[in-house]
Each structure stands twice: as C-alpha cells, then as structure tokens.
Symmetry: C2
Subunit: 220 residues, 2 copies
Amino acid sequence: MQSFTEENYLKIIYHLAENTNNVQTNAIAEQMQTKPASVTDMIKKLADKGFIDYVKYQGVTMTEKGRNAAIDIVRKHRLWEVFLVDKLNFKWDEVHDVAEELEHIKSTALIERLDEFLGFPKSDPHGDPIPDKNGRFAKTQFTKLIELKIGDSGTITGVSQHSSAFLKHLEKLGLTLGKQIQINDVTDFDGSVEIVISDKQINISREVAKHILISSNGKN
Amino acid sequence: MQSFTEENYLKIIYHLAENTNNVQTNAIAEQMQTKPASVTDMIKKLADKGFIDYVKYQGVTMTEKGRNAAIDIVRKHRLWEVFLVDKLNFKWDEVHDVAEELEHIKSTALIERLDEFLGFPKSDPHGDPIPDKNGRFAKTQFTKLIELKIGDSGTITGVSQHSSAFLKHLEKLGLTLGKQIQINDVTDFDGSVEIVISDKQINISREVAKHILISSNGKN
DNA sequence: TTAAATTTTTAGGTAAATCTAAAAAAAATA
DNA sequence: TATTTTTTTTAGATTTACCTAAAAATTTAA
Ligand SMILES: [Mn+2]
Ligand SMILES: [Mn+2]
Ligand SMILES: [Mn+2]
Ligand SMILES: [Mn+2]
C-alpha cells in the first residue's frame, strides 16, 4: 500500500501522461507544488516500486501497475464527488478539496458499496468519467466550445478546469452540465463567443470558452 | 490543524481520561501501539500546543482545548460509523477500522451535512453517544450485564469492546442493540451467566457479560 | 527506610518527505 | 558549432514520528 504522498504523485503523473508521452520533472513539481529536487527523489522511489519507468533526464512514463493504481484513486475521487453533490447537497464547486482527502481512504469494500449506493454513476459532477471497479471507463471525446464554429450546437458535458472560481462563474451564467448551447457569433476583437443558452443570448470570454466541453448533437 | 498522529493521540488520551485523572505515559503507549519514549516526545508537543497539561513523571490531563479537539474527532468517527451501517449496509463489526481513517477528514461542512443526511443520530452502531456540533452529548449511565443480579432485566444499549471478533460473536448469539434480556442464573463454577433473550435461554461467558451494557427497564 | 521493581525520561539514531544551493546534462539559440 | 538557457540531478540539511539503550525518578515491597 502506498502513502498519501505517493498516491498524489501517481495521480498527477497519470493526468500529465494524458497529454504527453514523457512526463517531465518540472511539470510534476508544478502540479505537486513542490521543488524539482523533491520530485527526483520521489520518482526514483516510484520507479523502484514499479509504478513508473524512469530514465534519468528523460522524464517518466507509467507502467501498467502505476496506471491501475492511479485509476483507482481517480475512481475514488470522482465517486466521492458524486456522493457529496448527490447526497450531501454540495455544489459542484465545493467538492474537489474534500474529495482530495477522501480519495485516500483505503477500503475496497467501502468504495464498492459507495458505488452501489450512488447507483453506479458513469460520470462525476464535472462530467469526468468514473472508472468501474476493473478500471474501465469510456474515453470521452469532447470538443472544446472555443473550437466550435458559428451555427454549431451541442450539449455541455464537461469542464476542463475545476477551480471554484471558474465553476461558480459558470453557474452564474447558467452554463451547467446538460444544457444545450448554440454558437451565434465569434467576436473578432477579443475572441469572445456569443452563444444561445436557454433561449437567452450571452457573451462568454475566450478563456471561459476554452474550458467548456461540448458533445455535438446527434452523437455520443 | 493537527496531524493524523496528533489527532490519534488526543483521542486516545481523551478516552483514557474517562477512567483516570492523570493519564500515564505507558497507558498511552499501549493504546497507540508505540513505545513510551515516543509518547514522551509527543506529549511534550501536545502540551506545547496547549492540548494537554503535562508535568514530568506525573502523566497528563486534557485542557479544555484538547477535550474539544478530541470530542470533535469522536463525533466524526461515530457519525461515519452510522453512515457505513445505515447507508452502506456494513455490519457493526466492520465499521471501526474504516471510521478510524474517515475521522481525520478535515471539513466542517462535510461533517455537518453528513450529520443532517443521517438525521442527526444520537448514538452510533455500538450504542456510543454522538456529540452534537457543539460537542454536547448525554452522558450515558449504563450497567454492565455482569453486574446485574438474578431476576434483573433490561435492554442491551451498548458494548464496551469493539473488536470484530467480539461483535460477530454477539451477533451470532442474537445479542444486538435494543434486545431485551433477563438474568436467569449465574453459574458458580465459571461465573457464566444464563440469560433469557427473545424467549430463548442462553449461556454467556463472564468475559462476554463484562462487555455488554444494559439500561434497566423503566429508566433511560 | 532501604532495596527492588516499575515507570518515565533522556540521549542518540533512523526513515520519509521535504528544502536550498550547486553541479551536470540537455535543449534552444546565435 | 559554440554559447546560453532550461531542465534535471546531486549533495547536504531539516522536520516529523518513530526507535533502542541507558539513566533518572517514582512507587512498591521487604
Ligand atoms: Mn475533483
Ligand atoms: Mn471532478
Ligand atoms: Mn469505532
Ligand atoms: Mn462505535
């Protein structure tokens, strides 16, 4: 069994590995809010334990064992987030920090029964997929709102930024999961996007549009 | 905020202080499954932080601050136990170890909403009282079954031993919370007790009888 | 009330996870 | 290609929570 710290490293390396092949020391340090020297120490340890492959100066890649361990933590994180929102009436912007703690509770029985209690949810309050107990989950194929063209429409099915400030902002604009949107116009001046949502026309900044994930109507 | 280790020390000192005025170093070491020398280190630290009063060679006593901190942990532990039994269908002998981890999750909002979700329970699956959010709880006045005399009767309202082995044994004998019992006889030979429960007559060992808590009929 | 037993503390050390400062390697740029 | 910049690693410390062995204080018993 791994320490909390090891689990946090594994989860972060796993997420970084979704975008790059070789995960860099500095990238890990930034995510872990620690120093590169500390990361070097830890990745040696994780490599010794067989969670990652590590070649000096070349960054790290996850092994099968490491990926499984990381997915297990992600599963727990997302299930707890569903619990907090569905059962304890937390808002979607309030759950992340608590889930960061709850994800480290070690009990297979607990997480399986929680999964069942929640009705085996497929996605968390931010639209992210929840791996099943075998670590399997549908690889979601979303389009960023910013990439849509005028006239395109779709459903909000996820966000790629989990900060409380961002989520609260979306909430205020009515941009919540499941809502239908259509692109009306893209402003030349600042790249902001004019969309129609719930029969109202609103303008959202480029920065916001970058982090909203859309599934096109008709598919998915 | 305290570390997990500090919280565990506080909780154990709090429980030991229920039976003695000055809690001894060795008693803490035994409960913490650690060495007396380690305890000395930690109690100095807890004294520095104002959680306990400590005089060399005299043992420790809890301060108001320490008691409040400990009660808060006990509250969390017991609420999580209720959650596990009431919502996730754990048995009463399966919850303790998981609750030992969950009790350290730091979020006031979480525990208050959990309390509400559970319907503000007054006692946990083992009959122990749950402090409210201000740390107040009814001091339960139970009698040990072993202390009852022939002919006495009452209701099982608690246990003073939380090991899985003991609780499973009680379950098998049908000795669960809320059950009515009456003392039929006490065996001279081994001190075992013959009781009537659910219209059946069974014999329980002295050791078992010591750890079952009864509230007399009529009161409580 | 001295001697023996028990309890508690001190002294000195270890392992995990962090840090700073400086050296080494790799990548980018001129 | 040589130089500069960036990335990564090493070396050496620090902090927390432990440990063992030995000394000191307290309690119990003779
Ligand atoms: Mn999250
Ligand atoms: Mn999430
Ligand atoms: Mn318990
Ligand atoms: Mn309990």
